[in-house]
């Protein structure tokens, strides 16, 4: 029982998602809900083996489904997983080459309500990253637990990179100061497309604007869009930041560290307007 002898402080700081390469440790850490799946037949929990033909079908089908109903987040997720292999390899290599990114790959932190200390974050000063993130969650009425599981990526480390990318998406909203309305989501997608090169982001970036009205389109193409692309290309890889250890860092400092300019236009979240 390794976990019993670990000092509590380490347990609280480290939120380890263990891999199938260490099965005995995984079984110790398995939550009650997962216990029935301790003998999953994939590379990781939730993994489903697919042939290339099935992946192609999935990519086409999920693309059509996501276009017809943009609220089908699971379809957007499936599209990302089936089309993103090369981009994920690229991201994983960038993470390996960065010291902080390498730490993330080994420690595998997860951003979930159960791993966030919300009370502590609420007590942080205004302007700090943690406080602004919490404000973002409250203003837009979202939760970090709503991310879809990774199912169709056939490498366990790449699956983690995909998962990390999904979990960092909300933090990106905070970093860029974008709300979760359509315009904000499109701006974040443009940034992500420039940063990660995931085909799903590119598709979202191209097709998202089709749903915007004229004034928002203008704002997108004149100020927000170029800003997002410029920063996406120039910023440090956002997956390389160990956000869980930087809650008390000032948001402006963090932006400067990542080479992200503050947004040219302040957009208001849906609740405020």
């Amino acid at each position: 029982m390794w976990l019993r002898y670990c000092p509590r402080s380490i347990l609280r700081r480290r939120h380890i998602e263990l891999t199938s390469s260490a099965p005995f440790v995984h079984q110790l850490h398995t939550s009650r809900a997962d216990r029935s799946h301790s003998y999953y037949d994939g590379l990781y929990h939730g993994h489903i083996h697919t042939t290339p033909f099935q992946k192609a079908l999935l990519a086409v089908g999920s693309g059509v489904a996501a276009l017809q109903d943009p609220y089908r987040h699971d379809m957007v997720a499936v599209l990302g997983e089936t089309t993103g292999h090369l981009a994920l390899v690229n991201l994983r290599d960038r993470m390996r080459n960065d010291p902080e990114g390498y730490t993330i790959l080994t420690e595998r932190p997860r951003i979930r309500l159960s791993t966030l200390d919300l009370k502590n974050m609420a007590s942080l000063p205004d302007g700090s990253f943690g406080r602004e993130y919490l404000r973002f969650l409250e203003d837009n009425n979202v939760t970090p637990d709503s991310r879809a599981q990774v199912k169709f990526v056939d490498d366990e480390e790449l699956a983690y990179v995909m998962l990390r990318y999904r979990e960092v998406h909300d933090l990106l909203h905070t970093l860029l100061g974008m709300p979760t309305n359509m315009l904000g989501e499109v701006v974040v997608k443009w940034f992500e497309a420039a940063q990660t090169g995931l085909p799903m982001c590119a598709l979202g970036a191209v097709l998202g604007p089709l749903r915007l009205n004229a004034s928002r389109l203008q704002s997108l193409f004149t100020s927000l869009g170029p800003w997002a692309l410029r920063n996406g290309r120039g910023a440090r890889c956002v997956l390389n930041i160990f956000y869980e250890r930087r809650w008390d860092q000032n948001l402006e400092d963090l932006r400067q560290e990542l080479h992200i300019e503050p947004p040219p236009v302040t957009l208001h979240s849906p609740r405020k307007t």
Binding site: I48, Q54, A65
Partner: protein, 314 residues
Amino acid sequence: MAASVRTFVRSLSRKNAGFSAVLRLSDCRWFSGKAEERSTHFGFETVSETEKASKVYKVFENVAQKYDVMNDAMSLGIHRLWKDALLHVMHPQPGARLLDVAGGTGDIAFRFLEYVRSQQERQQRRAVLLGQTPSWQDVSDRYPDGGGAPESAVVVCDINKEMLKVGRQRADSRGVTTGLSWVVGDAEELPFNDDQFDLYTIAFGIRNVTHIDQALKEALRVLKPGGRFLCLEFSKVTNPVLERLYDVYSFQVIPVLGEVIAGDWKSYQYLVESIRKFPDQEEFKGLMEDSGFFCVQYFNLTGGVVALHSGFKL
């Protein structure tokens, strides 16, 4: 004597499900082991028998909302033809009582009601055309205290409440109010008395039952003497070329459709695997004969993709 022992066993088994496997008269298996320890298949996976029932329940709970859409997508609409064929073979007459087990969303029940109503209209038109003297039906109808012919009715029985809920919503939207009732029940232990129904159907449900022989025995029990048992189920394809195509389609395309349309890959993977585990046409015919059905015959539809089995209780 046999009946009283049977009811005694049934009352015991209701109180203590764990020992029911041991006491079941039909099997006469004197194990000391309980049902939970006997294993069965769940698709290609091996699970304990009690686990299978709850896993199947969960599958249908998940797919209930998109069940009809998925049926159309997976079978390219052909499932409607299969169900129509079932009704044509059944050829129910007005006044028949049907029990549709695993009838969930009500496809068979709605078709039955429509068929019977059209049969009734046909009979009335024929009577008018031939200008016959009033039948006993008309004579009894004119008596002051009624005495009309028994109305045809269908009871839809399903173990899964979500599926029944979807069925009820469909009935409401179609405006079907009479002649239909919805009952939660287990095919292996039906909540009906003996000799109740003229017709018993189970369409694409019997492969999900843990003990098929038990479901067949229950079917025999609730049918009236002369009643007919009809089972529509996926079966073995006879043509080898079609079989290869069918396999490729089942394993490559159907789970993808499940993921894209219903957001549930695993339930549809279970579906195609459970089809492979079900006995083929001749084996199922043998099971029916063993359970006590007579004149058992089967019809292959779509080259054996689906088989329609029929038997009588005499």
